[in-house]
């Protein structure tokens, strides 16, 4: 699988990770489970950064002519 395709597909993986993290953050927040909130926020931010990297990798490959 080439880099472009991997980057493309990974974005959908990251969106899934972020959805799960968001639900964990909300549940943790209302359940006063601070650890869970911090863990979810960390995971979400890391996955967002990775998604951004993947997006630019894909963009570079997609638009190069």
């Amino acid at each position: 699988m080439d880099k472009k395709r991997a980057a493309f597909l990974s974005i959908f993986l990251f969106i899934a990770v972020n959805v799960v993290s968001l639900s964990n953050a909300i549940e943790g927040y209302y359940g006063h489970e601070d650890e869970r909130v911090y863990a979810a926020v960390t995971v979400a931010l890391v996955s967002t950064i990775l998604a951004t990297a993947a997006f630019f990798i894909w963009k570079k490959a997609e638009y190069k002519k």
């Binding site: 006063h32 489970e33 998604a51």
Partner: protein
Amino acid sequence: MTDDKKQTHHEDDKDMIKLIDNLNRKDDVHLNRRAFLKASFGATVAIGLATTPFGIFTFLRDENGEVKRVEITDIDDLAIGESRNFNYPTKNEPAILVRTPEDKFVAYNNKCTHLQCPVFYEHKENVLLCPCHKGYFNVDSGQPMAGPPQRELPKILLEIKDGKVYAVGREVRHG
């Protein structure tokens, strides 16, 4: 005249061809795919960043809500099988302290997790009972046993020292 007509027809056809030409399917699919990925990426970022307020609020809540130590009662004031109401961690959060038949102290916020009615200790059956819709909670764990409630009662952590019972913390979710 016929020539004229033919001419216009011809022009029309040309236009039509141009229109069809424009519908370059391959290009279209390609562009949609790009737009789709961009939208997905946007959603990823939006959802990812949406978690941060929860982190920030949790942090702020931590800051000003440092664990409070509150005296509830003297051990001798509460006989075995009795219960006592108090408020913890704030004045607006009612709680119940129970001295169980096994002579253990347990405490929970006693707002029913169904629709917030006050929960009482039923000595005879040794359960916490919500009279509103007959919700039952286990007195040893705070977990719902019967009736509409689905979530456990927030558990108040206790410390017993020098013949007094203190509330020292709270777990909203617990085993």
